[in-house]
Amino acid sequence: MYYKYLVVVMVLFLLGGWGVVLNRGHFIIMIVSIELVLLATFFFFLINSKEIDALIEQVFMIMGLTIAAAESSIGLALLVAYYRIRGTIVLKSFSSLRG
């Protein structure tokens, strides 16, 4: 009975994917969009958990929350390291690794 909310899951997931693609130049909005993807996945886990009445998916969601936090902290640390070297975060200056 909760499966109608799958549409919401798909919309949030696609919004996250589009955010990564459309904001290719901007690293911080890319991380935010990845957070949106993870949010959609958590939605999906909880809906599944209520639907099939299994608690393991809520545990899965908690673990996913942990990993999302760790991932975003490491991503921001990478951002700070990159900014310290390059002085900018626009990924258009990514062209030094080519050819």
Partner: protein, 184 residues
């Protein structure tokens, strides 16, 4: 029904604003609104502990971390790529359209397959027959008993995040500023 749809549309609308905001700070505030909306929806879904923890972790920790980094590095004046004139996004339209159709067909097919067979029970507060544990209690019994090894594994992941953040941002010999002989 009405209440949950309000929060769901709030989440989707704010999600659209997240990926299209001009300023990263605004984008982050919209992200906070997405999180609050979805946390309220989780609360309506009946998973109250997870909803509160979601609010605590995401809004309290992650969003503040993002804001802190944005303010620290003064990144507020980088508009997204698709607002610039030279950014050509038209070649992404077909593949984006295909992926969108793919996922929506997934969602709608599962909805249409499962929907008609079930009673139209639009009430979110589904009356459970057996309720013996609260959400936090039941989660604790699964998380600390069945999945105890995985719990330790997750703690290892947080340890890695801590080591990594310190290791990446600690000062070492200046890199980009010095002239490096013959590249590097």
């Amino acid at each position: 029904m009405g209440v949950s749809f309000f929060f769901i549309f709030g989440a989707i609308g704010s999600g659209i604003m997240v990926i299209s905001a001009l300023n990263p700070v605004f984008s982050l505030f919209w992200l906070v609104i997405v999180f609050i909306n979805s946390a309220v929806f989780f609360l309506l879904l009946g998973v109250d502990f997870i909803a509160l923890m979601f609010l605590l972790v995401y809004v309290g920790a992650i969003a503040v971390l993002f804001l802190f980094v944005i303010m620290l590095l003064n990144l507020t004046d980088y508009p997204p790529a698709f607002f610039k004139r030279e950014a050509d996004m038209t070649n992404y339209i077909p593949i984006g359209f295909l992926i969108g159709v793919f996922f929506f067909s997934e969602a709608s097919s599962s909805w249409f397959v499962l929907g008609p067979f079930q009673k139209e029970n639009w009430d979110l507060s589904f009356p459970w027959l057996i309720i013996s544990h609260h959400n936090i209690e039941a989660l604790g019994q699964v998380l600390y008993v069945v999945c105890c090894c995985l719990f330790i594994l997750a703690s290892f992941i947080l340890l890695v995040a801590m080591i990594g953040a310190i290791f990446l941002t600690q000062d070492k010999a200046p890199l980009g500023k010095t002239q490096q002989l013959l590249g590097g």
